[in-house]
Amino acid sequence: MTAATSQNFSDVAELMRDETVTHSLVSDVLLPSGKVLALLTLDNGLDHGKPTTLGPNGLIELRAALETQAERAKAGAIHALAITGKPHFLIAGADLSAVTRLRSPEQGSAMASLGHHAYDLLADLGVPTFAFVNGLALGGGLEIALACTYRTVSTAAGALGLPEAFLGLIPGWAGVYRLPRLVGPENALKVMIENPLNNNKTLSGPAAYKMGVADALFEPADFIEHSVAFVDGVLNGELEVRRPNAVDPRDPEVARRWLEAADAAQAFVDAKLHGAAPAPSKVLEVFRQGLTLTQPESAQLEIQALTELMGSRQFQNTVYAFFDLVQKRGKRPAGAPDARLARPVTKVGIVGAGLMASQLALLFVRRLNVPVVITDLDQSRIDKGLGYIHGEIDKLHAKDRMSQDAVNRAKALVSGSVSKEGFADADFVIEAVFEELGVKKQVFAEVEAVVSPECVLATNTSSLSVTEMGRDLMHPERLVGFHFFNPVALMPLLEIAATEWTSDTALSTAFVLGKALRKTTVLAQDAAAFVVNRVLLRLLSEVQAAFDEGTDAKTADNALSSMGLPMTPFTLLSMVGLPVAQHVTESLHAAFGDRFAVSQNLQKLIDAKVTSLWVADEQGGQVLNPAAAQVIMQGSNPSSAEQILARVQDALAQEIGLLLSEGVVAEAADVDLCMITGAGWPMHLGGITPYLDQVGASERVNGAKFNN
């Protein structure tokens, strides 16, 4: 190590003076054979609620501890070194709070080099090294293990993986170099590309063992003891370690597989991201080059790539989205009243037995295990609703996600009736009937005639005014908006809307209930379409308008691809259903005027019973639906894709600016949390407002950024 790099390390260490340092605690274990194993435990001294991570100070300490052991190895005082963690963790990864504090490429490069600086000794200690993967090993945590000569893994090790591509980085502490050599290129790219981009999936201990990440699998009760015995067995040559998936890249056949796997992964990345986030392609670039490089050569590339990516907006946005929003704000909703005010919910009423109502009934009964009563106008609708609920419960049973006892319990708890009398002792009644104000007011009047004065009433409306719904209630203070997203079982977001009358008790009950339903709750003041649908519909309106004005469908629908949204606007439109989208747009038009234009073309498509603008052609590609082509009337003022993108960015900045100034939600962060959890918008956009700041839209439209 040169003096210059040492200086850089102390710079980044200084940046993290308040780091929760993961210490490297070494003790000697005398093996039955008489050999000595130096056992290094990574431990931040906190309980298992506080994962161990590696920041610059922890890495410097690890390096120093390994240097000491390398000296002892040289002197013959130890015969092996093993590295493990405190209970439940090997290492959860690099300390990302450190990474977000880096202010210059030099600091970024120093942080990237530090990992290599510490880990490289594990690969070159003078004696065999072992990782005992006793628990969580993500990113830099798994890379520590990969640097060792051998690995054991616990059957209870929660999650193993290299999620860097998900976060906006690459597994650049030699994971990208070592993993494919250990488990083969296809498996490695599954871990480094496919899993991170599929909701950040990880491997269980047994799955990692099966793939060849570890050489031995032991049960957790005596994992360390068996791992230590494994060390002795390997040192004495009694155990033969087999690695059937390991490859030598110098083999031309392997080289062919390597590049083929990279091509396949690149196609997967392109289909998923359309170039919206640079990290996955960077992983593949370094992976490709690594085929013919030595590990130190690859390390240089990895450090370069990491330095570059640490400065990327996608990485910064993801860190904000994942840690500040999903992990923190999502768990402590801003503006929720004291949870102690909440009333217990021991019985739930649902007005309606349609698809949404039935999904709600299923969710309530599964999460709360309380009686749930559904009502509708006639018995056949109720029977259909109950049939759906029972069918879904049976499916969960078939997938082993509910025991027979739980099935019996859930089915017994759900009942249906044409009368609302069953609501008499309910604590929470939610309506999911047709989206029409008059109908909803009528329903609540009937419900209020039956329920106790304290029973909380909720509406699942997506765009109507909750305030108007409550205007004629005897107890308007009990009414809240309780807006789920489709499909209810999968989408994490629940928008909870308060009116000017809503009491803290009712609101608190709604938030506590939302948490019990395991939803991410966000408080919105009553305003048409709350947050997600307002933002989504504004986006759809702009694209629809560009199309109506004369832009060809393909250009219009693909104009936003650089944002990496989960689906194109027209695909989203057909998924929501054209009539539903039109209905909500009409409500928004009524509330907010021409910002939400009601498209004549869309109405024509609805009238012609067209359900999608696109249909599949014989090759599986997309072509314009001929039925749509017949009815639509386009103008003669087409826009380019760039123009549409800028138009949508500006529109979103405007709409979110207005939404915030109206006080619909407390902060821009709430909008971002809503878009991530309610619409599945990508973390590399930071939800949406960081992206709008970064592309200049916020300043163009509002004169200021949303975030500092």
């Binding site: 605690l25 003790s27 039955p32 290094l40 435990t41 431990d43 005596d222 360390i224 003891e225 015995a229």
Partner: protein, 416 residues
């Protein structure tokens, strides 16, 4: 040698009645010193017991876990990490199938011994064929007597002298009762116990029956323990003479001639004669008889004498028939009172060949199975011995004795 051994085991198996109770195997964790400086500070008691039970099953792969009929584990303090019916919790935590039941049992220091005799009764009756019996005590997590609430009638009606609730006091009382047992004799006994254990370690007679335990002390990394922490090899009369007598000014009982406060767990596998034949097991000992007996609580250390009398009578044996003694060394004076009663020299080579609790430690409810495991090993080393006993004193004035027969003895099976 191994072929020969196999033949002997087969012979022994043939001699067994279906309802004979045999000791198949026993293991224990290394014992630790209780308290913040001990190796198991930060380790849970139930986790220690799990290590012992898993270690036992691992080295007896011919015994399918689902065939075990009962897991009986003792703990003196049955709260916290020793609570919740520890035989059941440890069975579940050890990965033994849910179909196998378990229970917790308590007879203070003789907990594991009582776990063995209770399940042995079940085997003899035909209720069980295979059982795990053992005990655990983490005296760091559960200081002796913590949480106990002695009935005031003990005092008001003079049922138990309050002093007798402190075991050290009862040991001083024994010295009063038997003036011939001097501090010098007690110390000499203790020095010998340390030396015998050190020799046994030297001869690899202890290590084979220890399971290794990985433990993590707060603020420290993982350590793997393969040997006992309490022994103080090299203990001399001089070093013992300097120790305080904490229970009485100018008394005789010191930390040096008594067992310490310890953490540890033991587990043993017992089987019926029928199970031995069905699974092809190799019995290490056959249970001949057992007995428990009571004495005045203020001289609880004398308990092994009446218990042994009773057990010998039930077996139709005389003390002269006993070739090996494993007697728990809660206090040197208590062992000496037993030996004096039977006229056995305190340096008699039949007694505690591997040393005893004074050296190795005494995690209360776990110790009974340690005695049996050591006796079993001595049986395998010395085929000339036919009968041996394991015996121990028990708080509140009791003693327990189990008599075992050596299957390696030429006359094994020719029942009197």
């Amino acid at each position: 040698m191994s072929a020969n051994t196999t033949t002997e085991h087969e012979n022994a198996s043939r001699m067994l009645d279906d309802r004979d109770v045999v000791f198949i195997d026993g293991v224990r964790t290394p014992f630790g010193r209780a308290g913040e400086k001990g190796i198991y500070h930060g380790t849970r008691a139930d986790d220690l017991a799990v290590k012992a039970v898993r270690g036992l099953l691992e080295r007896n792969p011919q015994v399918p876990a689902e065939k075990i009929d009962e897991v009986s584990l003792a703990a003196t303090t049955q709260t916290g990490d020793q609570g919740l019916t520890i035989g059941r919790t440890v069975a579940l935590l050890s990965g033994i199938p849910q179909s196998v039941p378990g229970y917790a049992i308590d007879r203070m220091c003789a907990g594991a011994m009582t776990a063995v005799t209770s399940t042995a009764g079940g085997i003899a009756f035909g209720a069980y064929d295979l059982v795990i019996a053992g005990g655990v005590e983490h005296m760091g997590n559960h200081p002796m007597g913590a949480g106990a609430d002695p009935n005031p009638r003990f005092v008001s009606e003079r049922i138990v002298d309050p002093q007798a609730l402190n075991m050290g006091n009862t040991a001083e009382n024994l010295h009063d009762r038997f003036p011939a047992i001097t501090k010098e004799r007690a110390d000499r006994y203790a020095v010998a116990s340390q030396a015998k254990l050190a020799a046994a370690y030297q001869n690899q007679q202890i290590q084979p029956d220890l399971v290794s335990v990985a433990a993590k002390r707060p603020g420290e990394g993982w350590a793997v323990h393969r040997v006992d922490e309490p022994p103080r090899p090299g203990t001399t009369m001089e070093s013992l003479s300097e120790l305080r007598t904490p229970f009485r000014a100018h008394g005789r009982v010191t930390a040096g001639n008594a067992a310490g406060l310890n953490d540890g767990a033991t587990a043993a596998l017992l089987a019926s004669g029928q199970a031995v034949r069905e699974l092809g097991l190799a019995p290490k000992m056959r249970l001949v008889s057992f007995a428990f007996a009571g004495v005045a609580p203020d001289v609880m250390g004398y308990g092994p004498v009446p218990a042994t009398e009773k057990a010998l009578a039930k077996a139709g044996l005389e003390i002269q028939d006993i070739g090996l003694f494993e007697i728990n060394e809660a206090f040197a004076v208590q062992v000496l009172s037993f030996l004096d009663y039977y006229g056995i020299d305190q340096e008699d080579p039949r007694v505690n060949r591997y040393g005893g609790a004074i050296a190795v430690g005494h995690p209360l409810a776990s110790s009974g199975v340690r005695l049996m495991t050591q006796l079993a090993r001595q049986f395998s080393e010395d085929h000339s011995v036919r009968y041996g006993i394991t015996t121990m004193c028990i708080g509140l004035g009791m003693g327990g004795t189990v008599i075992w027969e050596n299957p390696n003895h030429p006359d094994f099976g020719s029942k009197a």
